[in-house]
């Protein structure tokens, strides 16, 4: 029986984590939006970058902190506000953790986007790969948050910090921009580019975070389904028609799509859909001990046929 504080509980992943964790633990859910899923745990509405939240955390004395509010929320908030909130929120959170002696274990949701992507990126990335190169705003935020974790974990030897770099989450329920984009009836893609993509199913993403809360394994782990799929193959599996467009027209098409209520892709996702990325998930099995239920291919199949 632990007391677990979950930030970002309003998102679908956050809701799933709270629903599962509250069966065995005392859960405190925090977010600044109305939760998408229903759960019984007490919900507190805080903006993470406010000092109120930091003081609340110190008073609540949790033993485990599950930090999920590192998601890309630019779709909901507009990019400037969302990005500032993530980094400031992280700063406030880790500051408060340093002042809360009860905390034993911190799990942070990161993203393989932290490696960023581009023509000069290695095709096979692992946790030891030095993270360099130009990054979009979201990717810079993730790097900042991971830097906070390294700094704070050096200062607090008694606390285990687990960072999970989740691959692109897809599924029929999670409703993130990438999943919505890939399930459009016809998908605009960049002419002449066919990126290698790696996914994790929404259920596996939630399961990995819950698993990490239960079994403290300090360190950074890539969490991804096995295998890769080219974008063209993803669309073929989903029987979607690709719509190849040159770069400027593609940008215009995506803007148009967003303006009529379609998914709004962040710059990091747009880059991913041009250059692709593959991360090795060996340490996820050997050191963390987590086994995803679905491979990349199965996750995609599940997204199209829930």
């Amino acid at each position: 029986m632990e007391r677990i504080l979950v930030t970002g509980a309003a998102s679908w992943i956050g809701g799933r984590c709270v629903q599962t964790l509250e069966r065995d633990h005392e859960v405190i859910a925090v977010d600044e939006f109305t939760p998408r899923l229903e759960f019984e745990a007490p919900f507190h509405r805080f903006s993470l970058d406010s000092l109120d939240f930091a003081h609340f955390l110190i008073r609540a004395q949790p033993t485990t902190v599950l930090h999920l509010q590192t998601l890309d929320r630019s779709a909901e908030l507009g990019s400037a506000r969302a990005n500032e909130g993530v980094v400031l929120g992280g700063q406030a959170l880790f500051g408060a953790i340093a002042r809360t002696p009860a905390v034993r274990h911190v799990v942070v949701k990161s993203d393989t986007a932290v490696y960023s992507t581009g023509p000069r990126h290695a095709s096979v990335l692992d946790e030891t790969t030095r993270i360099t190169g130009r990054a979009t705003r979201y990717e810079r935020n993730l790097r900042d948050i991971e830097r906070f974790v390294t700094e704070v974990s050096g200062e607090l030897p008694g606390v285990d910090f687990t960072v999970l770099r989740l691959a692109s989450i897809v599924g029929s329920a999670v409703g993130n921009p990438l999943s919505r984009y890939l399930t459009l009836p016809t998908v605009p893609v960049m002419l002449g580019f066919d990126p290698r993509l790696q996914f994790i199913h929404e259920d596996d993403a939630a399961a990995a975070l819950i698993y990490a809360c239960h079994s403290p394994a300090p360190g950074v782990f890539n969490v991804a389904g096995d295998g890769i799929l080219y974008l063209s193959r993803v669309l073929r599996l989903g029987r979607r028609i690709p719509q190849p467009l040159p770069s400027p027209q593609l940008r215009r098409a995506r803007r148009l799509l967003a303006s009529i209520g379609g998914p709004r892709l962040g710059q990091h996702t747009a880059n991913l859909l041009r250059y692709g990325r593959f991360t090795q998930n060996v340490r996820m099995r050997t050191d963390l001990g987590f086994e995803p239920a679905r491979s990349t291919r199965e996750a995609v199949a599940r997204m199209y046929m829930p």
Binding site: H121, G192, G227, Q280
Partner: protein, 371 residues
Amino acid sequence: MTDRLTAMLTGLNKAELRNLADAAGLSLGSRATKADLIEALSDHLRTDEPTDAPEPHGPPRCSQRTGGHPCGLPAADETDRCGLHGGFDVVDLARPVAGRLGFDTWPALIRQLALASYDTDPLGLDPVISDMFWRLLSFLYLDYFRVNVEGAHHIPESGPGVLVGNHAGAALPYDGAMLAMAVAHEAPVGRRVRLIGTEIFNMLPFVSHLYRKTGAAYASREDARWILGEGHLLGVFPEGVAGFQKSQDQAYKTQRFGRGGFVELAMHSGAPIIPVAIVGGEEVHPVLFTSKRLAQLVRLVFPEQRVEQMAVWLNPIPLPVKWHVRFLEPIDVGPARTTIDRLAVLEMAEHVREQIQAALDDMLEHRQGIF
């Protein structure tokens, strides 16, 4: 077994093959390519072997089903499965999954492609797409450039190896393709050479994914380590752009071998280094002059490229030069280790460069004409 037969036939030149075919009473048109001759002869030689039961419907097909239909691709020897369904290791062996059947298996290939029924490896090797290039590259290799290969027995039959070649040419990296085809066609065990190239390949439309699907990767430490760690053959041209864009008077003069990254990789994985001397690449697109201005333009688009000069050439169609590829004695770098002696790396790189240069000089001396 069939591979050795094919490899043996590939080693002969076209005139010899034609004599053999005439002696065997095979009637092939005068337009038959070397690939056709090899195919007809190996079929003929194999049907001479006594078989217990005749095959009524051609060679055995794969027993697996995809998307509710029979797979339709030929099964590998001694199994009932094709390469895509685990009949042989498609990632390591350079054996076309469509076998030598040719165009009658294209519908099956296209169906596999459309259904996305098979997996690609992390670097993105797509066995079906690379099969579709197999015919074109085989034509270039056997009939157009008529590549003559020496020392193919030096290529390891299994396990990792680093093939180091001299870079040449100005338009397209034909030498990489010919190196890969030489290993695929003539080695005791035809294997895939996983070539690594600069980021320009990642940036160009269409090239960006096709080069990956045919098994190549980006020239980075991580990619190369993955290739060697999985026990595949790595193909590198350490001279890089410096070897690719040089004036005609520099032809077959090896440039500096980078920073010896390939030696470090070999030492890390304990893989042998096999130097390869390639003659022919420099005359395919004869260089008229080199331009520093053009290089400046290229650097504007690809700022990280260390390109000093760009070669200017005229012929849009590559000249049908006769190529020679010589695989040299493998160099054992000792067991895999983590600490690397930096000076030893540079010495080894220089040693490899000298060996390749010596082989090149020898081959050029004995070459009878360019074509």
